[in-house]
């Protein structure tokens, strides 16, 4: 049963809002897990990986610019995704880390992508780095810019994709995430059209330690997994679609106070 329950990936996250839509009997367990989050072990490992000299070029990530200058991590997560002139594109945290790991450290993109999601047999460096970097914005407010024309365009594309229905089950993101206090089985579905809930999800939702997967999972994984439940093919890692949806959600989460990594079923 263990292997099976771990293999069951879930469509949606437990509501970070707690009481709303909560089924009595679940909340004590959720609270106990949140108080001592194994995700802290990923933060610890991510910190080590960030400062370690790694990759074919044997350099650390201290020269990686996540939008606030090389190596500046405090507040970096809070303003992503954003436009980067060196790549002339809007990037989320994972896409930007890919740029740095390839461009600075000399890793092969395909290798990082192949190991983007850890398994029970192999940890993902990306999941650890994201946990660490996100935690460096704890206590700060989400503050994703829409100043650059590309940022506005990507945001609007994200909105378009949020409502776009397709696939054998006619699902869009909005099918599950635009109404109050809904659940798939017992899993609460946050209403991402509600300003408060979207704030909570983007500032305390991902990265999160997933108990069913025994690993930290990132926003990229969250979108990948939704795609899976929607019966669409494997969503490309750091694809334009994933970044557009993240821009749409994260910008609308501006003002939410960051506390990451979270903990989820």
């Amino acid at each position: 049963m263990r292997a099976r329950s771990v293999a069951l990936a879930l469509m949606l996250i437990a509501s970070p809002l707690g009481a709303q839509g909560d089924v009595d009997g679940l909340s004590i367990g959720r609270q106990m897990l949140a108080e001592d989050n194994p995700g802290e072990l990923w933060v610890q490992r991510g910190e080590r990986l960030f400062y370690e000299k790694r990759g074919p070029r044997g350099v650390s990530l201290e020269r990686c610019d996540l939008g606030l200058g090389p190596g500046k991590l405090e507040g970096a997560f809070a303003q992503l995704p954003r436009y980067f002139s060196d790549t002339n594109s809007v990037q989320d945290l994972e896409s930007r880390l890919l740029t740095c790991m390839v461009g600075l450290q000399g890793f092969k993109r395909e290798e990082i992508v192949a190991n983007r999601f850890g398994t029970l047999d192999k940890d993902s460096d990306m999941e650890a780095l994201v946990s660490f970097i996100a935690s460096k914005s704890n206590g700060m407010k989400m503050n994703v810019p829409l100043a650059h024309p590309k940022e506005r365009e990507v945001y609007k594309i994200g909105e378009y994709l949020f409502y776009r229905r397709s696939g054998p089950l006619d699902f869009s993101c909005a099918t599950c995430h635009s109404d109050e206090a809904k659940r798939i089985r017992l899993q609460d579905l946050p209403n991402m059209t509600d300003p408060k809930q979207v704030q909570t999800v983007v500032s305390t939702g991902w990265p999160a330690y997933r108990g069913t997967q025994a690993s930290v999972r990132t926003m990229q994984h969250r979108l990948y997994d939704c795609n899976w439940q929607m019966r669409l093919p494997d969503l490309g890692y750091a694809s334009d679609m994933s970044i557009a949806l993240t821009s749409y959600l994260n910008h609308r989460g501006n003002g939410g106070v960051i506390q990451l990594p979270g903990v989820r079923r």
Partner: protein
């Protein structure tokens, strides 16, 4: 062979390896092999040294009524029984019910919080050993749901 049987065998085989085939060093001395290898919760409890269990309201089990993930079920036990020496946690319907034993000494409060795997809905039983040699118990049912979309 059906899935369940395969699973049980795998788990049983694994334990045999843990208990004997793999050379154990420091840990073996203080590990209740017969208790952990017992397949019925009664046997597991007997192997804790308990002949009789006294139901007690002085034991509090904190755990969810519904566990949304059987792989990680938080369980905390608090005993208010004077001179509590040890607390054991038994998931009655697990293939090997005894999950953990905590011996307290030198100022440790009679409290332990841990997370366990549960294969199915079951009672979780706390067994408390007091200095007078008596064993006290309380239990709580934890429902284990299937995966949300599976």
């Amino acid at each position: 062979m059906n899935r369940r049987r395969r699973t049980l065998l795998a788990w049983a085989g694994g334990t045999a390896a843990a208990a004997g085939l793999i050379p154990l060093r420091a840990s073996a001395a203080n590990w209740n092999k017969p208790g952990f290898e017992a397949k019925a919760s009664n046997d597991a409890i007997k192997n804790l040294g308990a002949a009789n269990l006294i139901e007690s309201k002085e034991i509090t089990i904190t755990a969810p009524d519904i566990a949304e993930n059987g792989a990680v079920v938080p369980v905390a036990v608090t005993s208010r029984i004077p001179n509590t020496q040890s607390i054991s946690i038994v998931a009655e319907k697990n293939p090997f019910p005894l999950a953990a034993t905590f011996d307290m000494a030198n100022g440790a409060e009679p409290y332990a919080s841990v997370r366990i795997k549960m294969g199915q809905t079951s009672h979780v039983r706390a067994v408390v050993k007091a200095a007078d040699g008596r064993f006290y118990t309380a239990s709580k049912e934890v429902k284990v749901t299937v995966g949300g979309c599976g």
